[in-house]
């Protein structure tokens, strides 16, 4: 470290301000924490409450790492020496131990504990997970589009200050004066500004339908499972599609379209007639989306107890959707009962899948399964896309 030799120079201590060893080692600590969080990411994230509207980060509380030394076991009673107005036999309580649990943060010598709240960008997490799980990147169906975007194009002598191209301006100055060694002096003629132009770009559209069974048999926990799963699916698809639309449909014996926040709050009573949901999806596709221009996905979460009388209609309706959709997925949320897809709806999807449609299903019993489900669907989907057709 060259700075140690500088030190002798009197007053030449400007370098002290240039960098901080403490901050360097702190960053290394931070990196280690992030590494270990990353290793256990699926477990940590699947439990976290992720679906806040607009939130692009997840906060994970972690403890500071401890560098371990040999220490004696903590005794029941510890003796020590103190100072102040106290007589033998006096009894009092140690004020430093009376902090409420919410007031942590006072750094002590050894036992003081500081909690860190690490913030992870959801985009980063998704990137890591895709890497870690080796999830395939999906190929998007490209359609003609009228998306316009600003791109950089050329330079001009006039423009907004923020678009001043320093490098270019410097070159112009050198060209004019021909002596790069002299003190730079610019005149207005030297200045170059970047220009922007409108460009049409082919856009990639995708719409994901999330369909949730909110009948009486779906518990809060089931809904939360479905919700966590849906959240990560959206994140995964957003990696691929710049403009991703989401449509939320819930059904009991009827079906309704909801906004995102409402969707996760709704609860209904009554039986399950899934064809109503599928019909609703069909209706929305027909009204708003052109399957030739748009990639359509459908994810359906239910406990699988569709009423038997609905089977034929559900099959028909669903097949019409799979014809247009890139992929259709079914998660069976049945916490407690692990029936492993041996349900009415489970059988329906199994049939579709064996008939060569792009469809898959997965039983979701616990939060730990969420990642398994995501992995399952994304690999299945990639396969479906690779297959010609």
């Amino acid at each position: 470290m060259p700075e140690s030799s500088d030190k002798a120079g009197s007053g030449a201590n400007k370098w002290y301000d240039l960098f901080s060893r403490g901050a360097r080692d702190w960053l290394r600590h931070d990196e280690k924490v992030r590494e270990s969080v990353r290793k256990h990411l699926p477990q940590i994230i699947s439990g976290a409450d992720v679906i806040n509207e607009g939130a692009r980060t997840v906060r994970v509380p972690v403890r500071m790492l401890e560098h371990y030394h040999f220490r004696l076991r903590r005794p029941e009673e510890q003796q020590g020496a103190g100072q102040g107005k106290a007589k033998p036999g006096d009894v009092f309580s140690d004020p430093s131990k009376q902090r409420g649990p919410g007031e942590k943060g006072a750094g002590g010598q050894d036992e003081g504990e500081v909690q860190l709240l690490l913030e992870f960008k959801i985009d980063d997490i998704v990137d890591w997970l895709w890497e870690e799980m080796q999830l395939p990147n999906l190929k998007a169906r490209v359609g003609p589009s009228e998306d316009t975007d600003w791109v950089r194009e050329g330079w001009d002598r006039r423009g907004a200050r923020s678009r001043l191209d320093r490098r270019r301006s410097f070159k112009e100055m050198v060209k004019r004066r021909g002596n790069p060694g002299a003190t730079p002096t610019f005149i207005d003629e030297d200045l170059r500004y970047r220009q922007l132009a409108r460009r049409r770009q082919p856009a990639v559209h995708a719409v994901v339908f999330f369909m949730l069974d909110v009948s009486g048999s779906m518990s809060d926990r089931d809904r939360k499972l479905a919700k966590t799963f849906f959240f990560w699916v959206v994140q995964g698809l957003r990696r691929e599609y710049r403009s991703l639309e989401t449509v939320f449909v819930a059904h009991t014996t009827e079906a309704w379209e909801f906004t995102e926040p409402e969707f996760f709050q709704v609860s209904g009573t009554g039986g399950t007639v899934s064809s109503t949901g599928f019909n609703k999806v069909r209706e929305i596709i027909d009204a708003r989306y052109n399957p030739g221009r748009c990639n359509i996905y459908l994810f359906y979460a239910s406990d699988g107890d569709n009423s038997v009388s609905d089977s034929a209609e559900a099959r028909e309706s669903l097949s019409s959707i799979t014809g247009d959709a890139c992929f259709t997925g079914y998660v069976e949320v049945s916490s407690g009962l692990s029936r492993q897809l041996a349900t009415e709806t489970g059988r329906l999807f199994a049939e579709l899948s064996s008939a060569g449609c792009a469809a898959g299903s997965y039983a979701l019993n616990d939060f730990d399964d969420v990642w398994g489900a995501v992995r399952h669907f994304f690999s299945a989907e990639a396969k479906a896309l690779e297959a010609p057709g």
Binding site: M1, D25, H29, F70, R73, A81, Q83, V114
Partner: protein, 453 residues
């Protein structure tokens, strides 16, 4: 910061010289607060990188934000000594601090423990530490962060486990056990020899290989560096670098009460005698002094710890008052905190200062114990035994390379914290590269073995 204080430095040095302080020249330098904080964290101005310092750095930042601690100066012994003053110090603070630093410089030049350790480490620890930092930086470039960090995790975890009674540059154990003493030449042996000359002396010298280690070895950094079966030489160098720094830190740790007390005594006295200091600066400096040697925080009645500045300062005042400066200087030269407290903290002074022993339960319930001077001494010194670390020594290396460590609970009174010990074994195992076994006792007092891996 203005440089006014530099005008006073020389005059204070002259005054200190006249008052009998003997010190190597000190180079004063004003540095930003952030740098002061780092010195407090690392213990040295330039030191090896390790993430654990980052953790301490954050604690230090939090403390500073809460206004708990402020550092005025840090001084490194040596010839010349280096003193760093906080750039935010006012004139009065800097005058006080200059006098304080000279007290430290006198102490570190004359105290035996400092002299011994400096004799080993040399008087240029600041430069040595910077050199270690550079070496380690090079190792990181060559072998990668992961590998170097694994070695530092282990070495720094054992940093207190040195033996200052041994030399810094210590030889390996003799390979063979010392020969048994020749048997006494008594009547019987003479007669036996006369019977058959060939039987008397066996002729063959049977050398016995000495076990490793020949005795329980508490210098763990040295032992691992020298006897680890598969350690690479750059890894040994890191262990020995950490050990050298520990040799430097030991006297600072073991004489803290005396040393801070001595410096506080002298800054107070030099300030009283420095008639060249303006009145206002003098008053400010005295106020600053009383903040530093305050035994109990302003808003509290009792403190469950002892301020070494205050204790040392009061003891030195008493000693100088009762026995005179010559005796005080002798004590300063010869003692460390153990001798200092045991010999010179009297019942009378302890009462005057309001020192007491207490027993604290885990739930924060604290009870003040009966007066007992000897027990009070030990309560003050308790955290200082053995460099503040449990007595763990290397006791045996098995033929397969397994290292046996033993914790001596008869010295420490209780067993080790098992979870932490296990983690330390994990660290060390990565450089020892063979299994490690550590025996200690559990809560019930029965022997317990921890193993890694």
């Amino acid at each position: 910061m203005t440089e006014d204080w530099k005008d006073y430095t020389q005059r204070i040095e002259e005054l200190a010289g006249r008052s009998g302080l003997k010190f190597h020249p000190v180079e004063f330098e004003a540095v930003p607060d952030t740098f002061m904080m780092e010195i407090a964290v690392y213990g040295l101005p330039v030191r090896m990188p390790h993430w654990s310092f980052g953790v301490r750095y954050i604690y230090q930042l939090i403390q500073r934000h809460m206004g708990n601690s402020r550092l005025f100066e840090v001084v490194f012994p040596g010839n010349p000594g280096h003193a760093y003053l906080a750039a935010s110090n006012g004139l009065a603070e800097n005058i006080l601090v200059t006098a304080h630093v000279l007290g430290h410089a006198d102490f570190s030049r004359n105290n035996l423990m400092f002299r011994r350790c400096q004799g080993q480490v040399s008087e240029h620890i600041v430069e040595h530490a910077a050199n270690h930092a550079r070496q380690i930086q090079q190792a990181i470039e060559q072998y990668g962060m992961q590998r170097v960090e694994a070695v530092l995790d282990a070495a720094l975890a054992l940093e207190q486990h040195i033996d200052v009674d041994q030399s810094l540059r210590r030889e390996r154990y003799p390979e063979y056990a010392p020969e048994a003493k020749a048997l006494a030449d008594d009547e019987f042996r003479k007669r036996f020899a006369s019977l058959d000359p060939t039987a008397a002396s066996t002729g063959l010298e049977i050398k016995k290989r000495a076990p490793v280690p020949p005795h329980p070895e508490r210098d763990l950094l040295w032992f691992v560096a020298n006897y680890a079966p598969e350690m690479e030489s750059w890894e040994r160098d890191i262990f020995l670098a950490v050990r050298e720094e520990s040799f430097y830190f030991y006297p600072v740790f073991a004489t803290q009460i005396m040393n801070e007390g001595w410096a506080s005594y002298w800054h107070a006295r030099l300030l009283r005698e420095a008639d060249f200091v303006p009145q206002q600066a003098y008053l400010d400096a005295i106020k600053c002094h009383s903040d530093v040697v305050r035994p109990v925080a302003a808003d509290q009645q009792v403190a469950l710890h002892i301020n070494p500045y205050h204790l040392g300062f009061s003891m030195w005042e008493k000693i100088v008052e009762k026995e005179g400066m010559d005796a005080a200087r002798n004590i300063m030269e010869q003692d460390d905190d153990f001798g200092f407290i045991r010999n010179h903290l009297t019942r009378e002074l302890a009462d005057e200062l309001g020192l007491f022993r207490f027993s604290a339960r885990n739930d924060g319930h604290v009870k003040v114990l009966e007066h007992d001077l000897t027990a009070l001494h030990e309560a003050v010194l308790g955290p200082k035994y053995n460099f503040g670390a449990p007595s763990v020594s290397a006791t045996h290396v098995r033929t397969d390379g397994t290292l046996e460590l033993t914790h001596d609970n008869s010295i420490d009174g209780r067993g080790l914290d098992l979870e932490r010990s296990r983690r330390v074994l994990d660290y060390v195992q990565r450089v020892w590269r063979r299994p490690i076994v550590l025996s200690t006792v559990n809560q019930a007092g029965s022997t317990l073995e921890l193993t890694a891996p």
